[in-house]
């Protein structure tokens, strides 16, 4: 299933493969979804949502990296290439250097994302790149559960 609304907000989806996998839901966001935090499907964000510590650097890449490492068990990796036994996430960073989104890699090598209040989708990494989320520039991994 396709979404004209998502294609409007993320024009790259029009030229890449993607599929809508859920209804819209305003109660959780990309971080909970990407990190597979099933017991706390809530809205993670420094200052304005749930954040496991008092943010030291607002919504900076450094703040995200530290929290993803300390509270969710990720470590930085160099590429988005599929690695057996690992679960990878990609952090999208906008042109101001602020993280805007996180996607999780599926065992197939494709990616899954919760797009704000909108639907969960399966997509290519470049499908969500653009003005809204910026580029997928940081990659982290942890042992697959």
């Amino acid at each position: 299933m396709k979404s004209p609304r998502l294609e409007r907000d993320f024009p790259n989806l029009r030229s890449t493969a993607y599929e809508v996998k859920s209804e819209e839901d305003e109660e959780y966001n990309c971080i909970a979804w990407a990190a597979n935090v099933k017991n706390r499907m809530i809205w993670w964000w420094p200052n304005t949502g749930y954040w496991p510590r008092e943010p030291e650097n607002d919504a900076s890449v450094q703040e995200f990296m530290e929290v993803l490492r300390a509270f969710l068990g990720y470590e930085v990796c160099a590429t988005s290439d599929l690695e057996k036994g690992c679960e990878k996430v990609a952090l999208y960073v906008d042109h101001d250097g602020e993280p805007q989104h996180m996607a999780r890699q599926l065992p197939s090598g494709r990616w899954t994302s919760k797009c704000g209040d909108l639907e969960d989708i399966e997509h290519e990494l470049s499908g969500l790149e653009g003005d809204l989320y910026g580029k997928a520039t940081m990659f982290l991994k942890r042992k697959a559960s």
Binding site: N29, W43, Q100, C115, G116, D117, L132
Partner: protein, 211 residues
Amino acid sequence: MPATSRVTLRELNSSWDPAYKEAFSKAAKYRALDSRRVYSVISLHDEPHLEGQAPEKCSDEAKCWRDTSDPIAEGKSFCGSRELHDWLKEPFMSSESSVIVWKSESEKQQVLEERFRELSEKWRDETGAFSSATKKVMNFHYLRIVGMGMPVVPVILRELQRRPSHWFQALTFITGEDPVKPEEKGDISRMAEAWIRLGKQRGWLDEESKT
């Protein structure tokens, strides 16, 4: 008691309030004004009535117009019986003429709710894909809702009951309060419940309202 506001015709024309604008554009085109739907009373003066002073006390019969179908006006005598569009043709009317708009509380509430609905739809449309709650609340339409002040608080709380969403910062900006406990942060349903509880305590929401 009816609510009043005083603006000039120029301000009326550029006002954000769609009901004002509708009334002005109708009047300016010399079409009949559906005053029963939007306004109870409109009084037109170069020197305006004092706020809250009813037009029936006005001694200037030449410049006062009254919709006699207005239920608030029932049983009272009024100066003038000409149609609004006739008064707008008079030379004393200019873009700087003052207008006192009387609206009943229910009419005022209806305008407020329509305005909220319009702005919140635009806000959802523009920010629905944002993962950052901070970016969501820095949106132009969201900030215009905040600018509506205390009168919009009951409208937001009813919206939270119907569809929990990111209205918490708006409520905190307007009221200066934050009933959300640290452990509830990010849990949209629990945050909504905390605000609805506070709304009932403060009298912003009816006690009977569903939780």
